[in-house]
């Protein structure tokens, strides 16, 4: 079913916040879909990267509840292929940071199972915590 969208100051402010934080001009996105095509994680995503850009442009805060930004591992495949030279890895980092800066971690670092923890390389832990904890 289609969702009714109303453009308010709030939707514009949300877009401006994400654009400010990411440094990317989201309105430049021409919805060509190259990013979603090349994204290695797209099958797990509930909202495709191109759709995220669309919803952010429309100021829909529902994107904050999506898993997409957490699945994105900043592999930069979309960054090097976007015809408009937009850097989607920065947009998803901005979305993550909005959540993390509300002191809402995306991982409970205490819950890492002990046997796993001992085996994990430092690089995995530091990388994960940098992206999933505020």
């Amino acid at each position: 079913m289609a969702k009714k969208i109303k453009f308010t100051d709030k939707t514009t402010k949300f877009l401006e916040k994400i654009m400010d934080l990411s440094g990317e001009q989201v309105t430049l996105c021409e919805q060509c879909g190259t990013c979603s095509g090349g994204c290695p994680f797209v099958e797990e995503m509930d909202i495709n990267p191109s759709q995220i850009m669309r919803l952010v442009m429309l100021g829909q805060e529902e994107v904050m509840e999506s898993q997409t930004m957490w699945l994105c591992a900043s592999c930069y495949t979309c960054t090097i292929r976007c015809p408009r030279k937009l850097d989607l890895s920065k947009v998803s980092e901005a979305l993550r940071q909005v959540k993390l800066r509300e002191a809402v971690d995306n991982i409970d670092i205490a819950e890492i199972d002990a046997a796993e923890a001992v085996k994990l390389p430092t690089i995995a832990l530091v990388g994960n915590f940098r992206k999933f904890t505020g």
Binding site: L21, I80, K131
Partner: protein, 299 residues
């Protein structure tokens, strides 16, 4: 050549074999790694928001150490060598950002007022593969060519992308293939060479990593590869350890050994097995090495 060397935390823990084989191979070639003193963790992933300066402190602090080493003439190079692709990527991105934003660099220098000098933006970050390329793959004295060993070069993401820091053409890289051929092995052309291995999802989303890794391994096998080389301890962990876990779960999954490129380079240069830390590789590399009796005393 004495070059400042930034190991990165994982080289000291689970990726000891990468460091051992790298240092040994480099020494054999004539390059001495001089570990920078009091280095600190690079942060693994680069902070991409426009306003977050704090996450760029760690790399800048490392560059200060290189600056100090140069002043003390402890090294002959002003470039900082890294082995791990993620360290390379993060250090380079921050370095570029600092070189382009003098005001941000000034803020960071002011913040680190306990350091006795400011970072002047004079250091460059370079990956061991670029150094080897610069040195000349053909000039490597190969004593033990890896004849008819079919090797797939796995770049992952951080060596090639984004373009500003990539060490080769992100869509059609050739640097590792050139190394493989120089080592006498057969380089395999395959598609998944720069597809993401799942990176740090291996902490909490292991199934996703396993799915990606099985895709990569199958693609390598379909293209006739017998071994995969990589230069990132996280990719190595995902491809090696997670692959082994998968193989344990379903027995008909045919495993493929994962090497650090410096391990194969070490073998090709005729180094002793003890220098290469092969025992730390999860999937036993010895069958494939024995098959081509490549490794001295590979029982």
């Amino acid at each position: 050549m004495k070059i400042p060397y930034f190991p990165g935390c994982t080289m000291k823990t689970t990726a000891k074999n990468f460091e051992m084989s790298a240092i040994a191979s480099a020494k054999k070639i004539g390059i001495e790694f001089v570990e920078i003193p009091r280095w600190n963790c690079c942060g693994v992933v680069s902070s991409l928001t426009s306003d977050d300066l704090m996450k760029h402190l760690a790399p800048v602090r490392n560059f200060l150490r290189v600056q100090e080493m140069n002043k003390a003439e402890a090294v002959s190079e002003n470039r900082l060598l890294t082995l791990c692709s993620m360290c390379y990527n993060t250090l380079s991105l921050t370095n570029n950002r600092m070189k382009e934003n003098a005001d941000e660099l000034q803020k960071i220098n002011d913040f680190m007022h306990r350091e006795d000098e400011n970072y002047a933006g004079s250091v460059d970050v370079v990956h061991f593969l670029s150094i080897l390329d610069e040195w000349g793959f053909d000039k490597l004295k190969i004593e033990n060519p890896l004849k008819n060993l079919k090797v797939a070069s796995y770049y992952g993401c951080m060596l090639l992308r984004p373009k500003e820091v990539g060490i080769d053409d992100p869509e059609a890289p050739q640097i590792m293939e050139k190394l493989v051929t120089a080592m006498g092995a057969e380089s395999v052309e395959w598609d998944a060479k720069s597809r993401c291995c799942g990176s740090y999802h291996t902490v909490k989303n292991i199934d996703l990593v396993k799915k990606l890794v099985s895709g990569i391994i199958n693609d390598a096998r379909e293209n006739g590869a017998e071994a995969i080389i990589t230069s990132c301890p996280l990719c190595a962990f995902n491809l090696d350890v997670r692959q082994k876990e998968m193989a344990v779960k379903n027995s008909d999954f045919q495993t493929m050994p994962i090497f650090y490129f410096t391990q194969l380079l070490g073998i090709a240069l005729g180094l002793e097995k003890s220098d290469l830390g092969l025992e730390f590789n999860a999937i036993n590399p010895n069958e494939i090495l024995k098959k081509y009796e490549k490794i001295k005393g590979a029982k």
